[in-house]
């Protein structure tokens, strides 16, 4: 198929069709090799590892108490290496109550990444269950679940996210986890992003189930008396795992961006707990309060939004590259021809 060859780079095609390719490689081994040859995806893995290293190693350099400590005298300081004399006291400046932006980016990064991964986990689980039940049982179960899915698609999710976070935030007290105190809004944001991210995956899984349940191995399992749920989860689902992985990787990018938007609008993770989104919110409230963005820039607060959003774009870019590589590696169309 044309698409399959198009998405591979030139070098890859040569390897794939050369006689030296060992036919003994398994599907996953083949996919892994193809993934490693996708240079951008490998770059994405390295980039993501660097981000993880940054937010983990960084938390040894700064304590969370320091990241959350206001210092009003030194509010809105420009990055300290731009000042005269240059120092490394606040490499990314301070925010509107004088907290160190670099320390907040480190701790905010941990929160944003956790939100991204856990909400994708919720979305993937929901999507797999709904898609599998819908595709396997068919009939009225299928049509009810699919109408529900269509209805959820028709509702703009960011709007809904805003309502739900607005209403739920503040209803959960702070959580103490591993000696850290996190705002109760963190699990709410995870939950809310998760329950609005499953629709596309449910459709993919459903269509996989529709075609796979007609196949002989399912018939054989049924003839042997295997139970329905066991056929669904042990026989059919492992065969549709590839599109789920691809979906999850691309969903992670969307989840991190969504957290950033909700946080930017002030309705995500609540202070003092930092997230990349709510660091950006300072820029928005500054923009709204000043009523003149000219003033907003003249006061020189570009470091409030530039550094966190660079972190977001770098993370999302890496995740998108990985997702692209996974799609090329796992998409069964890549095996044909």
């Amino acid at each position: 198929m044309a698409v399959a060859t198009e998405t591979l780079s030139k070098g890859e095609e040569r390897v794939m069709f050369s006689p030296s390719t060992k036919p003994t490689l398994s599907l996953w081994g083949l996919a892994f090799r193809r993934f490693l040859r996708h240079r951008a995806a490998v770059g994405g893995i390295i980039g993501l590892a660097l981000i993880f290293a940054f937010v983990i190693v960084g938390s040894f350099a700064y304590t969370e108490a320091y990241a959350n400590k206001p210092d009003v005298v030194n509010r809105l300081q420009a990055p300290s290496w731009l000042q005269d004399p240059p120092t490394w006291e606040h490499p990314m400046g301070t925010d509107s109550v004088g907290r160190d932006v670099l320390a907040r980016i480190i701790y905010g990064g941990q929160i944003s990444l956790i939100i991204g991964f856990l909400s994708v986990l919720i979305a993937v689980t929901l999507g797999a269950i709904i898609g599998a039940v819908s595709g396997y049982y068919g009939g009225s179960v299928d049509s009810i679940l699919m109408r529900f899915t269509e209805a959820m698609i028709a509702i703009p999710s960011l709007f809904f996210l805003i309502i739900i976070s607005k209403m739920l935030i503040g209803s959960i007290p702070n959580i103490n986890l591993l000696g850290r105190s996190l705002s109760g809004s963190v699990p709410i944001v995870i939950f809310v992003i998760g329950i609005f991210g499953w629709m596309v995956e449910a459709r993919i899984v459903r269509s996989q189930f529709l075609s796979l349940k007609q196949q002989d191995f399912v018939l054989a399992a049924r003839a042997l008396g295997v139970k329905d749920h066991s056929i669904m989860w042990k026989h059919i689902l492992p065969n549709s795992i590839a599109p789920i992985i691809v979906f999850a990787s691309l969903g992670l990018a969307v989840a991190i961006l969504t957290e950033a938007y909700v946080g930017f609008l002030g309705l995500g993770v609540q202070e003092p707990t930092a997230s990349w989104g709510n660091i950006l919110n300072q820029a928005l409230s500054y923009l709204n309060r000043a009523f003149a963005p000219q003033d907003f820039i003249h006061r020189g607060v570009w470091w409030l939004w530039l550094f966190p959003s660079l972190m977001i774009i770098f993370t999302v870019l890496c995740v998108n590259f990985i997702g692209d590589g996974l799609r090329d590696a796992l998409d069964p169309r890549g095996l044909t021809k």
């Binding site: 198009e6 998405t7 028709a154 703009p156 960011l158 709007f159 609008l265 963005p293 000219q294 530039l306």
Partner: protein, 344 residues
């Protein structure tokens, strides 16, 4: 085909009911419904609370509230003074008769607030959509024709950055460069707030000038995603045998590209655009908020902060109706543009 269209329209009706049910149930269960009436940190308490609950019909079971929201309550008597005798006529007309309720913050009908904002949003979004589609078509086709060239590779890299871009970075970056840095450098600069300069009045030039930065923000991100999609569709079509046939029988490359390839590649593109059109009504929440553009997104955000439920429900319902309407329209358009599809 007529029967197919009728069937699709009939399918849209239960879908709309499911949407309205989801919107209603979720919003009605979201904490204190009277929070918008309360002060900064308080709650409405005592006799005031009971009176308001009766007035808003919140003492009724949720399914009665849903029916009232849908079809209104001007056909039933309400018990407003709490003595157990219903005597006052209801005044609500219900969503089905075009009454989206009354804002609890401004006390204006929601439908009027939406009508004030809708033209602004459509102006912004339709302009952006035109820019997006034209640029994405040009770039998508060009990258497909010159695949693996330097141009294609550079653009592929840029488009990845484009659709990984968070809106705040792009919008604030554009404000910084074109709104402020240009002004400081004495160059012609772009306005960054609202639709008009209060001093200059509501002139068309002002409007065009104010549109530039928000439209650029919206376009750059979407062009990246659209053009990738168009590129992969074009590449798939260009690999087919009938394209080789068309080329080998001596047709000019322009005819092959636009008549043979693009026409076939257009089908998924039509679907993508059709499904996106429904969301135009929603405006762009983040972009409108940053640029203070008085549209639907900004309306929604401002009233979400004040917990103004009737406005939020009204806006969500309108957007969902428009999304479902455009889905329907896309499906029907498909029957005209793709003669291969047969409908029983």
């Amino acid at each position: 085909m007529g029967r197919y269209i009728v069937r699709r329209m009939l399918q849209a009706i239960p879908l709309l009911f499911i949407v309205s049910l989801i919107v209603f149930v979720l919003i009605m269960n979201m904490g204190d419904p009277l929070i918008a009436f309360a002060g900064r940190n308080g709650q409405v308490k005592g006799a005031d609370r009971e009176r308001l609950i009766r007035k808003l019909g919140l003492d009724q079971p949720i399914y009665v509230q849903y029916v009232v929201w849908l079809v209104g309550n001007d056909w039933m008597k309400l018990d407003l003074d709490g003595d157990g005798v219903p005597e006052t006529n209801g005044t609500r007309r219900g969503v089905l008769r075009g009454d989206l309720g009354t804002s609890v913050v401004t006390r204006e009908p929601v439908i009027k607030m939406v009508r004030d904002r809708l033209p602004n949003t459509l102006l912004l979004m339709v302009t952006a959509e035109i820019v997006i589609i034209s640029f994405a078509l040009i770039l998508g086709i060009a990258t497909a024709v010159f695949k693996y060239s330097i141009f294609d590779n550079v653009f592929t890299g840029l488009s990845f950055v484009g659709f990984s871009m968070p809106v705040p970075l792009l919008a604030l970056g554009l404000i910084y460069i074109f709104g402020v840095y240009f002004k400081r450098a004495g160059l012609p600069y772009f306005p960054t707030v609202g639709m008009f300069e209060p001093a200059a009045g509501k002139t068309p030039e002002q409007l065009v000038w104010h549109l530039v930065l928000p439209v650029a923000t919206l376009s750059i991100i979407s062009i990246a995603a659209y053009s990738r999609f168009i590129r992969s569709n074009m590449l798939e079509v260009l690999g087919h045998d009938y394209i080789r046939t068309a080329t080998s029988k001596g047709l000019s490359s322009r005819v092959v590209l636009f008549k043979h390839a693009l026409k076939n590649a257009a089908l998924p593109i039509v679907t993508l655009i059709g499904l996106d059109l429904g969301f135009l009504l929603a405006g762009a929440l983040v972009t409108e908020t940053i640029f203070s553009w008085p549209g639907m997104g900004r309306l929604f955000y401002d009233h979400a902060l004040k917990s103004d439920m009737p406005v939020l429900m009204g806006v969500l319902m309108l957007i969902s109706i428009s999304v479902i309407f455009f889905q329907l329209l896309t499906d029907i358009t498909y029957t005209f543009v793709d003669p291969r599809i047969r409908y029983q």
